[in-house]
Assembly symmetry: C2
Homo-oligomer: 454 residues x 2
């Protein structure tokens, strides 16, 4: 292997990998690995996951000495196992640019996991098949955009390549609205969901407050975030620094709900303002630590109970105990794909993560995830870094305790300073007939070279 | 009275009242009614109800011969009864302009109704009080922006003025996301909710379709619309004319749900595409005509049962009968105040309705509601008209039967041609720190001249 020193980096290795810096002559100039590139997406999409893919494709086009074909894997690892690859050089340059404001996962995504623990026999077969596909198509540069689970898969692929002595540059591209990946300042996708949700809270506050004189109510807005309250917490920006502005209460999954104190706070707010706006993370937990909205009769594909009703459950409590009118909003998937109001900062950073992944791989790195680093707080500036994949996988980062106000109802100024720059900038997505114009890929298939998967 | 011929117009009178036409010399030039203007808002807000108020205020400033002070009534009729008036001439011109993209009801709104049927004694007291307030502040021009209920109140005020011989020009300004007012092509507020909801459906479709290979599901998006399905139907625009595009099923309150046929359609769609997106109007009804999401234990201030769960109820049915993963989105209030993605056409029309109301009143008209008239289909052009208030009040317009496809799942081309122009144009709301900048009114109170209301 040409780059064994890079492929066996110790756990915890962290590099600042400045996008704007000149290429590292030590690793970059001597790179003789030539082959094809494969980029794929995994897990729940975000408003900007396609922006990262656009970054990968556009940067790949600048490294023709190393990268020959640019392939996309359809539906993540699942599609790659089925040899469902498309030729991204067949796409129009305009379409690639449009990916930067197109929600969903344009290459398709999957929930499929290589089950190393639960089903090692199948996992071994999957790995064999994966490397058959890689060899058949001479894949030497592999970029996987995803969250915790996906970076775990990515790390396993990286380690397997080392074990097999198959030369592969494997770089993870961070993606998750949940902002729960460790070792990165924040994740692409997070700024956009915060911008959309905070805007929604502001707008609902305009509506709710204008009705308050004779039609006051408690509004409960349920947002995503199962284990970590980053998304719920982000709506604090809607307050614009004013105490009486909404949201008046933010319920984080990190803090067990004290129902009595919650009801007292709702009552105090409604008595004072005529209305109360509560933002609830879907994973908010009761005093015993059980998810209050969990419907344990239904499980998602990872075996977690489906959360269908934190807002409805809370509304029942408020209505039942305070006899107060309640209204619920469940933004659900709408919040994670709201490209029409994406943060331009988020888009720029998502693109940069794709670009950095390709640059790092071409310079010989493998086994890292790209990270976002806060280069300057005021004015906000970011750069990219790299962190070993092994430290990312399956670790969920929650909000630091000291970023939450003492009474536990709202995040504090430290959190606000952290999150505020991430929603800056308006995407101004072009429209056709009043609706956003999204990219339509041709998805020209790459000829299959293998028999179908068993 | 100077204008008795205008104040006793027959029911059913309809006038095309072209905004761009020269003033009518017969009525306009001879208008000698001089006094103060009062504008107020009522019922549920929309994304553009404040644009109509801005239109009223800006046009009023052009008629200084007739209109002396420009007052706003806080919280509709409820606040006027409490003599809660503000001086709109104390607002910055910039704030008035900003009202055009500010959601909620900037003057406050109310659900309070003068209970002519249920409580005639209180209604008589309310009317006495209202005219005391009008006289105390020399209100001669009264503009009430609202939907069916509000136009009913407006008509009662108009008739009462005639009965009392109190010279008042009383013009209704249409407002409702529900698009259920009769005698107008459509209502201000409708275009914006359709634009936002259709965009949301498109975005969720990007997300859902990209997950479809191994994580397909039925997505149920609940939108507003209790008796009429205009809002749900509008999301058909997300299809952009393509059969396989979402939404695949739109459930209208006008059509009783046949559960068996519905499940068959969901299954057929999911089998074919891997996912299915259903838009459900909140008032969708079962085969017996009962609202499927009604929670009869909770009533709103008009005594209607609160609808909390059409989407959740449908999700239970789909999951239970088809064993299909379901995900729900309940946009709730978010959809009616989504000023950040309002239709510019809608904003322009809302402003025009306010302008036309003032022009009509100054020309001597009273007892009318401003209507929107489609002056040209292609290219779309609108003008304003007037229709007698008595025909508007409490009448709900539903979607014509022949605008719905024969299988009942989607509106047809006639409906699409009707709705498509209403979402054109992007508001491009200015932002501060990444969030929309909304108007903040000073709300300088007008000195009270009466004892408090009993």
């Amino acid at each position: 292997m040409a780059d064994s020193e890079d492929q066996s980096q110790p756990a915890g290795e962290r590099l600042i990998y400045d996008l704007n810096a000149a290429p590292d002559p030590a690793s970059g100039s001597g790179n003789d690995l030539v082959g094809n590139l494969l980029v794929a997406q995994s897990g729940g999409p975000t408003a900007v996951i396609n922006a990262s893919v656009a970054g990968v494709i556009q940067e790949a086009g600048r490294h023709l000495d190393n990268i020959e074909e640019i392939y996309g894997g359809l539906n993540g690892i699942y599609g790659i196992l089925h040899e469902n690859l498309i030729d991204l050089n067949e796409e129009k340059a305009r379409s690639i640019e449009e990916l930067k404001h197109t929600p969903g996962a344009a290459l398709g995504t999957c929930r499929y996991k290589v089950q190393f623990q639960k089903n090692p026999e199948q996992a071994a077969k999957d790995m064999d098949r994966l490397f058959e596909v890689f060899e058949a198509h001479n894949i030497r540069y592999f970029f996987y955009a995803g969250g915790n689970d996906s970076q775990d898969t990515n790390n396993k692929v990286h380690l397997e390549a080392q074990k097999r002595g198959y030369e592969l540059r494997c770089i993870g591209v961070p993606k998750t609205i949940d902002n729960d990946l460790p070792h990165t300042d924040h994740t692409p996708g997070y700024g956009s969901v915060v911008k959309y949700n905070a805007t929604t809270v502001m707008e609902i506050a305009c509506d709710a407050s204008s009705m308050a004189t004779d039609d006051g109510a408690c509004f409960i807005i349920e947002v995503m975030g199962r284990a970590a309250g980053w998304i719920a917490a982000g709506t604090v920006l809607a307050k614009e620094g004013k105490e009486d502005n909404a949201p008046h209460i933010i319920l984080l999954p990190e803090i067990h709900l004290n129902e009595e104190r919650f009801l007292a706070k709702v009552k105090e707010t409604t008595d004072r303002l005529g209305y109360c706006i509560v933002v609830a993370g879907e994973g908010v937990k009761d005093a015993e630590g059980h998810e209050i909205g969990a419907d344990k009769t239904r499980l998602d594909s990872f075996g977690h109970p489906v959360l269908s009703g934190a807002s409805e459950t809370l509304a029942e409590v408020v209505h039942g105990k305070l006899n107060l009118k309640t209204r619920t909003v469940k933004l659900g998937y709408a919040q994670r794909c709201a490209a029409h109001y994406a943060s331009q900062t988020d888009i720029d950073e998502a693109v940069a993560c794709g670009v950095a992944a390709v640059k790092a791989a071409v310079e010989g790195k493998s086994g890292f995830m790209v990270t976002l680093e806060r280069a300057s707080k005021k004015p906000y500036e970011f750069t990219t870094g790299l962190h070993t994949l092994g430290d990312i996988a399956l670790v969920e980062r929650t909000i630091p305790d000291d970023w939450i106000s003492e009474d536990g109802w709202l995040p504090n100024q430290q959190f606000i300073d952290y999150v505020a720059p991430l929603i800056e900038g308006d995407a101004n997505v072009p429209t056709d007939n009043g609706l956003p114009h999204f990219a339509q890929l041709n998805k020209v298939p790459v000829d299959k070279k293998l028999p179908p998967r068993d």
